[in-house]
Structures are given as C-alpha cells and as structure tokens.
C-alpha cells in the first residue's frame, strides 16, 4: 500500500554533509602534508647546501693559504734578488770609484779587491806623488793603510798599498786602547 507517489530515496552513510566535511578536511590534510613535505625537502636541501658550503670553504681556505704562501715566496725571491742586484751595483760603483781614484801619473799593475780591503800594486814617479795623490784619499776611505816602495828599473818607484776597513767592534777596541804617546 502506497502512501506517497514519491519513491523513497536510498539512505547512504555518506551524506552530502559528510562529503563536504571530508572534502574540507581532505584539502586541509593535503595542504598540511604538502607543507610538511616542503619542510622535509628544504631541511634536506639546507643540509646538502651546508655540507657543500663547508667543503667549498675548506677548499677555498686551502687555496688562499697556498696562494698566500706563493705570494710570500715571490716576495722573498724579489727581495733576495733586489739585494743581489744592489750588491752588484754597489760593486760596480766601488770599482768605478777605485779606478777614478788613481791619478794619471800613477800606473796600476794589479788591484785586488777584498771583502774588507784593497791591495794595489803599481808604479809611481816618486813617493810624494803617491802620498799626496793616492795615499791621502785611500787613508780617508780605509781604517788602516800600509805602503811599501821599492825601486823600479826606470828610476820610478814600485809600490804596494794595502788597505783595510775594520769591522765596527775592531774600531771600538782600537779606540779603547791607551795611546802609546
């Protein structure tokens, strides 16, 4: 027996309200999990970046240290070679000065340049010419000067002039000695 013309709808557990609720929470869970996944991924990515940066920093520090060591080495080479070049230039000036020192009337036969002295062999017309024109300037340069003469065949005098520069402590010791006069 029918009481209504409208046929009864089948009742389902999942009603419209349930669908709405599940859709809402489904979207919410999806967003939460996506956020969580994003955080996990970024966490992993930051860890990787951190490891990469640490390694890069170690390598860079090593590279910088090597380059600084190279710079110090080139500077050392530069400084050392400058010293060598200066010594050669000073040596050239010393030899130039030595030959300029010898007057035209005196002829040298041999010159020995030592580290702390100079030995000259030569010939002079007479002792006075030697004393005034060569011995005087030599005495002003060197601390100790010794000269010896012996006659040459042409009537001139052969001479040997030995000159030394004392080291500073030797000069001080010499000055400290009581005067013999």
């Amino acid at each position: 027996m029918k009481y209504s013309y409208i046929s009864a709808k089948n009742k389902s557990v999942i009603t419209k309200e349930f669908k709405l609720l599940f859709t809402f929470f489904g979207v919410t869970f999806f967003m939460l999990f996506m956020t969580y996944m994003f955080l996990i991924y970024k966490d992993y990515s930051f860890d990787q970046d951190s490891i990469y940066i640490s390694n890069a920093k170690i390598e860079l520090r090593k590279k910088i240290k090597d380059m600084q060591s190279d710079i110090a080495f080139v500077e050392k080479q530069n400084l050392f070679s400058e010293g060598v070049f200066t010594n050669n230039s000073v040596l050239k000036d010393s030899i130039t000065n030595l030959f300029d020192l010898v007057p035209n009337r005196i002829t040298l036969s041999q010159a020995k340049l030592l580290e702390n002295g100079l030995i000259l062999y030569g010939i002079t017309p007479n002792e006075d010419v030697y004393n005034f024109m060569l011995a005087a300037p030599l005495r002003s340069i060197f601390h100790r000067s010794y000269s010896s003469f012996y006659p040459a065949q042409n009537g001139w005098l052969k001479f040997v002039s030995t000159n030394y520069i004392d080291k500073e402590d030797e000069v001080t010791r010499r000055e400290d000695l009581p005067n013999e006069d």
């Binding site: 009603t15 309200e17 349930f18 609720l21 929470f25 919410t28 869970f29 939460l32 956020t35 969580y36 955080l39 996990i40 970024k42 966490d43 930051f46 860890d47 970046d49 951190s50 940066i53 640490s54 890069a56 920093k57 860079l60 520090r61 590279k63 910088i64 380059m67 600084q68 060591s69 190279d70 710079i71 110090a72 080495f73 080139v74 500077e75 050392k76 080479q77 530069n78 050392f80 070679s81 060598v84 070049f85 010594n87 050669n88 230039s89 040596l91 050239k92 030899i95 130039t96 030959f99 040298l108 036969s109 041999q110 010159a111 020995k112 340049l113 030592l114 580290e115």
Partner: protein, 180 residues
C-alpha cells in the same frame, strides 16, 4: 531543555572534532617545530653563503695579487727556476770580454733556502768599462748572479786579466724548504 540531535549529526560532529584535533596536533607537534627548524637552518645557510661569498671575494683578490706579482716579477721567478748553463752564459756575455773561462760549479750551503752554486771566472778585458757593462748586464741575466770578492785585476800587456767568483742562486730542488 531537550536538544534534538540526530545520530548522523552526532557522527558528523564527532568526526569533525577528531579530524580537527588531528589537524591541531599535527600542526603544533610536527609542523611548527619543523617550521622553526627550517627558519633556523635557512638563517644558518644564508650566513654560511655570505661567508662563502666573502671568502670567494677574498680569494679572488689574493689571486689577482698573486697574478700581478708573478707578472711583475716574471724575470726574477724565471731566473730562480733556470739551471745555470756555462755554455749559454759564455755565449751571452763573451761580448764583454776578450776571453771568458768558467771553472767547475761547486754547490755551497743554502742561503735563505735558495741553492747556491759558486762559479769561478777568469777573463780578459780591454778596459774597465767592459767590466762595468758586464756588471750592468748580469743584473738582467737569465740567472740570479752575485759577483763576489775577491776580485783581481792584473795588467797583461794591453789587456786586463780579471778573475772573480760568482754565486748563482736558484730555487732549491725541495721547493718547500725554499718557501719556508
């Protein structure tokens, strides 16, 4: 007062409450700490990146300085690396002398970490000027050469016989000892 709640609505409310609690717990127990950690790590990585960039800039500056130094002192660095060659030396400098003879090389004690070879030289020059020219030229040579005492000049007819020793400096075979 009597509330009229259907069973279905009650289920709906209970499920909603459970899901809501789950969302809250997940958010506060998992997401918030992870977020905090994310922020901390992001700041740390930014700081590290900044340090790395500064280090890279510094490294670039040091590299530039090294390159400039190397190019400015190319002659010196090459000279220290070049092994002394008697024949080449004679070929290069014989123009300054009438005759030039070099004796055997003796290795001396290292100076400031550099290897030192002593070479004795006997030569004839026409005038002291030739020797001055040689001293000027030796500073531009392919080797680092120091002219040493004693130097002996002796008149021989119209020429001057000169004898002197030279010290030739080069990088030690063990570069580390030179660098230190």
């Amino acid at each position: 007062m009597k509330t009229n709640l259907s069973r279905q609505l009650l289920y709906l409310l209970i499920i909603s409450a459970i899901l809501f609690i789950f969302v809250l717990l997940f958010s506060f127990l998992v997401l918030v700490p992870s977020g905090k950690e994310y922020r901390i790590k992001r700041t740390a990585v930014k700081k590290q990146s900044l340090e790395l960039r500064q280090l890279e800039n510094f490294s670039f500056d040091v590299e530039q300085k090294l390159q400039k130094l190397k190019s400015d002192n190319r002659h010196i660095t090459t000279a220290f690396d070049t092994k002394f060659n008697e024949k080449r030396f004679q070929k290069q400098y014989k123009t300054h002398f009438t005759s030039l003879e070099l004796s055997k090389q003796d290795e001396l004690e290292k100076e400031q970490g550099f290897s030192v070879y002593e070479v004795n030289t006997t030569s004839h020059i026409s005038s002291p000027q030739s020797f001055y020219n040689f001293l000027d030229a030796v500073n531009k040579s392919d080797w680092i050469i120091s002219i040493n005492f004693p130097i002996n000049f002796q008149r021989e007819d119209q020429e001057i016989k000169s004898s002197f020793s030279m010290k030739v400096y080069s990088n030690s075979k063990d570069l580390n000892s030179t660098k230190s």
